[in-house]
Symmetry: C2
Subunit: 330 residues, 2 copies
Amino acid sequence: MEITLQQTAEFFRENDDFTLICHSNPDGDTLGSGYGLCGVLHIMGKRARIICDDEPSSRFDFLAEAIDPRLTELAKDADETIITIDVADVELIGSLKDRYPDIDLCIDHHVSNKNYAKRLLIDNTSASCAMVVWELIKELISEKQLKETPKARAIAAAIYTGISTDTGCFRYSNTSAKCHHTAAELMAYSFNVTKINYLMFEMKTRERISLEIEAFNGIEFYWGGKCAVISLTRQMLDGIDPEDASNVSSLPKQIEGVSAGIVFKEKKEDVWKISVRTDENINAQTLCSALGGGGHIRAAGCTLKGTLESVKKAVLSEIEKQIDNGVKEL
Amino acid sequence: MEITLQQTAEFFRENDDFTLICHSNPDGDTLGSGYGLCGVLHIMGKRARIICDDEPSSRFDFLAEAIDPRLTELAKDADETIITIDVADVELIGSLKDRYPDIDLCIDHHVSNKNYAKRLLIDNTSASCAMVVWELIKELISEKQLKETPKARAIAAAIYTGISTDTGCFRYSNTSAKCHHTAAELMAYSFNVTKINYLMFEMKTRERISLEIEAFNGIEFYWGGKCAVISLTRQMLDGIDPEDASNVSSLPKQIEGVSAGIVFKEKKEDVWKISVRTDENINAQTLCSALGGGGHIRAAGCTLKGTLESVKKAVLSEIEKQIDNGVKEL
């Protein structure tokens, strides 16, 4: 059942012990939203903790550092309230689903939300879950009350992290005027914007740089440079952090003149995960749907079985159809 | 003489033929500010053109495309009004200084402005010149008047480009709440934010990628990875666009654990231009000042003469002083 912001605030006031669940492969939005809300619940005198099926990347360590561990211990025999944060489908909490079959509240922004929770606070016009949480925070405590606590800066930084990561630092097409308005509000709390965005977008491990070099060294171009292809074999991906590997997906599309950037990653023998990033000349969704996958018009994916040569041929022939058709504006 | 926003608007209303001068090595702020203002002057029925001593990078082509060339022809025997945009020092307009020795108005945001123009509209608290120009535009024409013209989108996009480039897409420490407020206002004109930021921050030439690979292949680490050094010889830089070469300066600092990222570029035999980027553990300004250069605490530079080995030794010994002193927070 969908509930309003006011009803959600009331629900938080009525309960005392909260377990906030972030989605697996946690990103800046689920973690920033979770830690921001957790911090506010602590200010309200509640006990609240964050759990996640996967260990977050160390680049998110600063979010947890501001949390007082004493307040994350739930009361003995507490009637634990279970809340999912930025989780469109309960499957996305992984094995935690078995431990927590009943979700009391889901706070989310995905259009694809499966409506699996008893209560649902959703704004699917919002670019990030963090913006939904920020509106909720403003219902829960006054600006004055927030500003008086030493935690205010960390809470604002957490919410900002969610907005920044889900919009690619205000660059993706989901970036709205509201994203900028909220960022402006948050900046009154003077956290270190530069440091956060360095951690989120600039910092690269040495392993990632090595992988990028290897990837670029083997890059292939088709149709006079309109299509760029990178292939990563299991050998190249061996020992590579999945986060580092996933970031490679955006590389070929960055090259000047490339309308379709494709990355082939070997998952196991003869099984390839394919990421497609396109500009306005190619529809990635149409392309990947034709191959049994899916996604968005500018970013989509599919999984194909076969040798690298055969799966590459399959993908390139789908691209050729669109290049032949001279699709210009999608 | 410093004049107010209102006086500046009045000055524009009183004159008819404007030459707007952008600084040499033009960036998104000087060009975005210039083209945004130029577009508004055309709406007001004025004639206005943009000039610059250097050819802008093709990534800025979209700015000029919205300009009506008929309106950039100044009237015959016009009393040409000369305006510099985002130009702190008249030396920065290069050879145009000889053609235009008298500057009627300078619109700028640099603290270091040399006050060389007859009139000066400056806000040195502003992160970008484009934000100063946007305030001026709001004095010159009403929101209604702007929204009614087909050029509104291009003008908003130009101003946005200035803010985005001068703040590193809202990541640098100069990013203020006002930057986000202005961005939010501009987004009402629904230009293509994704496309602009792709052009400004993501798109890389093949030559740049090759240079990055070569740079990373020769990277050296010192003090257990706290310092990373890239050296670019004249041979490596031969035929490379200066814009591509300059972007390499930020690479070594991106590596996890690196407090000082140094790039040595060979300008001519035994002359090295050195760029230093640091985190809060090292003061780049102190370091480069000690070597006869200067800059900011996180980004500075100097030029040294000698062999690569000798200049590297000089820079590393300055870094060692700070690492030895255990400087933590600057």
